[in-house]
Symmetry: C2
């Protein structure tokens, strides 16, 4: 069940460019094997890892943090607590980010509410126009 880079690209949603880039950046746990002709060979596990990986990325984890995790894993048993801590740290960051977004949303909604109120009274331009300070 060997997979070519093109197949992995199609199934992971990453471009072949990105896959080669990720490899250069050391984001694969098991350095990607090659066929005798130099072509990369991937396996199902790689796809599983890439799925996790893109989840982490999409939640804002920098490539550097992912690399850090993968480097720990590569060292083999003994550092499980550290690996866990990397994930936990990111978990906390995501939580903080969510809280932050909720707050921003609340602020925006309040501004929009006020804006609409005035809009209804036909005096909207004076609001939410930073060059014309609010009453």
């Amino acid at each position: 069940m060997d997979l070519s880079i093109g197949e992995v690209a199609a199934r992971s949603g990453l471009s072949v460019h990105a896959l080669r880039f990720y490899e250069r950046e050391g984001l694969f746990a098991n350095p990607v094997r090659r066929l005798s002709n130099g072509r990369r060979v991937y396996h199902e596990e790689d796809l599983e890892w890439l799925a996790i990986c893109t989840k982490l990325r999409s939640s804002g984890m920098p490539l550097a943090a992912i690399r850090q995790y993968i480097e720990l894993a590569r060292q083999g048993p003994g550092n499980e607590r550290e690996r866990l801590e990397v994930l936990r740290a990111h978990e906390r960051q995501v939580e903080a980010r969510i809280a932050d977004l909720h707050e921003t949303l609340a602020v925006m909604r309040e501004k929009v509410r006020i804006y609409e109120e005035h809009l209804a009274r036909g005096e909207a331009d004076r609001l939410w126009n930073p060059s014309r300070p609010e009453a």
Copy 2:
């Protein structure tokens, strides 16, 4: 109550570089005035706008979208609905982002939970080590 760029930097949390950059990028509604010697003069309203602005930025709104908003406001009355729509669009994006983060968080927690379970049994390395597929 005129403010220098340095004071604005201190109070807004943006660097003087960033303030000049924002100006070049057209992110101020009222093109920043200058003293006869060429130095920028800011006012309280500018600080208020910058506060909103950094909230929007920190919630992921690109400078281009902020510029779009400010350009509408600069055109004066008549396009309030459009201005509102710019804000609403961002509001929706923030909501989507929050939902996404919640999902990622759930996935991560599940992974971490499984990991910990196995950690407790001393067989952690085989889990969450992408090069050693899970049992």
